[in-house]
């Protein structure tokens, strides 16, 4: 075990996977000699050279398109998109090609590309360095969507992603790249997809969160504990495949749900969670589902701290949930 930051854990995961398998390579903007703008690929260029840690021209279309071609040919490319906000030039490649290759070819052409991208707010990045657009990808059949919130999960889920047979969007909560540290097991240690993590057990209410929303969710649970409320906090970890059983089971136990994410509320991932509860935990629910989310606006700059859900807002929603029904 070593104490690492989240971004260090990712860096280790990349290095170990490349060392173990010559078919694993990394490509993207500034990932090589510069080590990535967040230093996630630091040291890899020196160790593995420019043919495996490929600095590409400034084209997300090209990065994902080329990665798909490499994957079709049998390599395991890991594409970095510098900020999730810049993934849209590659959107056609992702939704039309990457997500559909296996299906449209009748299973002949699996396409195991990992796309890593820092996402979310909290670094004063304004409209274009802060977005959380996981819902677009979760709605696209054929993609897996993974979001770690701890260093151990970051490395473990990334390792699973690299060896997964399917395309994986691996979204890294950049706000906690360095703010969160934790013990990370040495060596290959895969965290399975489709298993949510009970970050804190409780009986009165469930908070569902992921990524950088985990710390404020846990803080909120503490605050509520001081008020005598026992709150369960679930870290979804993989949005696709979703651990639906864990989601439903928790609310069957607690009867109350607060869903937290940074993305705008309207048609966000929280809507799916609420819908699942309205369908499958309907008779257990004691009060209306609450969503604590980013507002239905583009991401702001000066007001980012008021935009992002914080522990106070989560507590506020939890109290409303606990007092209703």
């Amino acid at each position: 075990m070593t104490e690492l930051t989240l971004v260090q854990a990712i860096n280790r995961g990349l290095g170990e996977a490349m060392r173990a398998d010559p078919d694993v390579l990394v490509l993207g903007e500034d990932v090589g000699i510069n080590g990535g703008v967040f230093r996630a690929t630091e040291g890899l260029f020196k160790e593995f050279g420019g043919d495996r840690v490929i600095d590409t021209p400034l084209s997300e279309t090209g990065i994902v398109g080329a990665a798909i071609g490499m994957a079709l040919y049998g390599l395991k490319p890991i594409a970095e998109i510098q900020f999730l906000d810049f993934i849209y030039p590659a959107f056609d490649q992702i939704v039309s090609e990457l997500a559909k290759f296996r299906f449209r070819s009748g299973g002949q052409y699996p396409c195991h590309v990992v796309i890593r991208s820092p996402y979310g707010g909290g670094i004063k990045g304004g409209l274009y360095h802060s977005q959380s657009s996981e819902a677009y990808f979760a709605h696209t059949a054929g993609l897996k969507v993974v979001i770690p919130s701890t260093p151990a999960d970051a490395k473990g889920l990334l390792t699973t992603a690299i060896h997964d047979p399917d395309p994986v969007l691996f979204l890294e909560p950049k706000r906690i790249y360095r703010a969160v540290t934790g013990e990370v097991p040495e060596g290959e240690n895969r965290v399975p997809f489709g298993e949510a993590r009970v970050a804190r057990a409780g009986d009165d209410l469930t908070i569902f969160a992921y990524g950088a929303m985990m710390p404020p969710s846990l803080t909120a649970a503490e605050t509520l504990a001081a008020e005598g409320k026992s709150v369960e906090v679930i870290d979804l970890r993989t949005l696709v495949p979703l651990d639906e059983r864990a989601v439903v089971a928790s609310v069957e136990k607690t009867g109350r749900a607060v869903i937290v994410h940074e993305a705008p509320r309207f048609c966000g991932f929280g809507a799916e969670l609420a819908a699942i509860l309205a369908e499958k935990a309907f008779f257990s629910l004691k009060s209306p589902v609450q969503r604590v989310t980013g507002y239905d606006t583009p991401f702001p700059y000066a007001l980012e701290n008021l935009y992002l859900p914080n522990a106070e807002r989560i507590v506020h929603a939890a109290r409303a949930s606990l007092s209703a029904g």
Binding site: I54, T56, A66, G69, Y73, F103, G106, V240
Partner: protein, 359 residues
């Protein structure tokens, strides 16, 4: 998978070397087979026996000569109009009809519109509809092949209109920067549905766009198998030698409609069509073969008759093949079904059983 024999493999040649009469005869056969299938499919669509079709008439020489110059180990990244390439690759006719029908024999499990086929066995990657996306795939695959130390090339196929796509730009630029061993084979058939070539871009030729990426660019007469063959052979040799990619513009004409949904009389003149019909690549190669003395009118009649029968037999077999199993709908989305899909599949099976859904 069954034999590739309807077309026959290319006779070995070295770069730059000319095609033998034996090759030319086989190539003519491949072109004729494509023509026969094409005409059959247009009829089938009119009769409602297949839902849609994209013809290739006018582009047979370009495709067959290009495929001839490639190695069977090379990877093809087609658009939707590359029937003759598939045939040269050896894809059995029945398998193609299975795809057009979308039956249980279809390798794609009936999931795509006609013409969007692909066969891993033949290194012919499954096509999609959005234009141009295959271009950057071919570049990535070429980089991968080089990384794995395999001396093959990849070739992407696309039309004049597709030079305007995002992936044309990204793909050619990546290939230039990384000297990827790949060939960009642009069939300039003068039209992108209703948009004429000269309204697509003000570039003098499409091959001239190679300048923007620091790569080689050549224009060839796409009705001339010799010119196309040589251009592709040369491009392939350069790619393998590490000298980088080539953009080849084969100038052809789309003699038919864009697809069976299209009516070209709305946007182009009979005169233009007639002028290009006079340059029909099949007539041109037939003429050459006749002149060479290696081919006679009787051979020709026998060839076309034989091909028609062959095609009719394959079609009949495809039409007798059972429909696709409804339960396959839930396969191949991911390697394993996630919980939501598993549940939907169970509900679907129950609805089929209860008659809520009827295949």
């Amino acid at each position: 998978m069954a034999d590739a024999g309807t077309v026959g493999a290319p006779t070995e040649t070295v770069p730059g070397e000319d095609l033998s009469t034996a090759d030319l005869t086989k190539m003519y056969r491949a072109m004729a087979l494509a023509r026969v299938m094409d005409e059959r499919c247009l009829t089938l669509q009119r009769q409602g026996r297949i839902g849609f079709y994209v013809p290739l008439q006018g582009q047979e020489a370009a495709q067959v000569a290009c495929a001839w110059a490639l190695d069977t180990e090379d990877w093809i990244f087609p658009a939707y109009r590359e029937l003759a390439i598939a045939l040269v690759r050896g894809v059995p006719i029945k398998l193609l009809f299975d795809q057009f029908i979308g039956n249980s024999g279809d390798v794609l499990k009936g999931r795509q519109m006609p013409n969007h086929y692909g066969y891993r066995e033949f290194r012919f990657v499954t096509a999609s509809s959005p234009v141009g996306t295959q271009i950057s795939h071919a570049v990535g695959a070429a980089m991968a092949a080089r990384w794995k130390g395999e001396a093959i090339v990849t070739a992407s196929f696309f039309g004049d209109g597709t030079t305007s796509s995002n992936d044309f730009h990204a793909g050619l630029n990546f290939a230039g920067v990384f000297k990827a061993p790949t060939i960009f084979f642009c069939q300039n058939n003068q039209w992108a549905i209703s948009l004429p070539r000269e309204r697509q871009t003000r570039s003098e030729t499409l091959a001239a766009k190679a300048v923007a990426y620091g790569i080689a660019g050549v224009v060839v007469d796409g009705t001339d198998v010799h010119g196309v063959y040589r251009a592709v052979k040369d491009a392939r040799a350069r790619a393998i030698a590490g000298e980088g990619p080539t953009l080849i513009e084969a100038q052809v004409y789309r003699l038919g409609p864009h697809s069976t949904s299209d009516d070209p009389r709305r946007y182009r003149t009979d005169a233009e069509l007639a002028a290009w019909k006079a340059k029909d690549p099949l007539a041109r190669l037939k003429h050459e073969l006749l002149a060479s003395g290696a081919w006679a009118e009787e051979d020709d009649t026998a060839l076309w008759d034989g091909l028609k029968k062959e095609v009719a037999t394959a079609l009949a077999a495809a039409e007798e093949t059972s429909p696709v199993d409804p339960m396959t709908l839930f396969d191949d989305v991911l390697a394993e079904r996630p919980p939501n899909l598993e549940e939907q599949r169970t509900e679907f099976a129950a609805m089929l059983k209860d008659g809520v859904l009827r295949p």
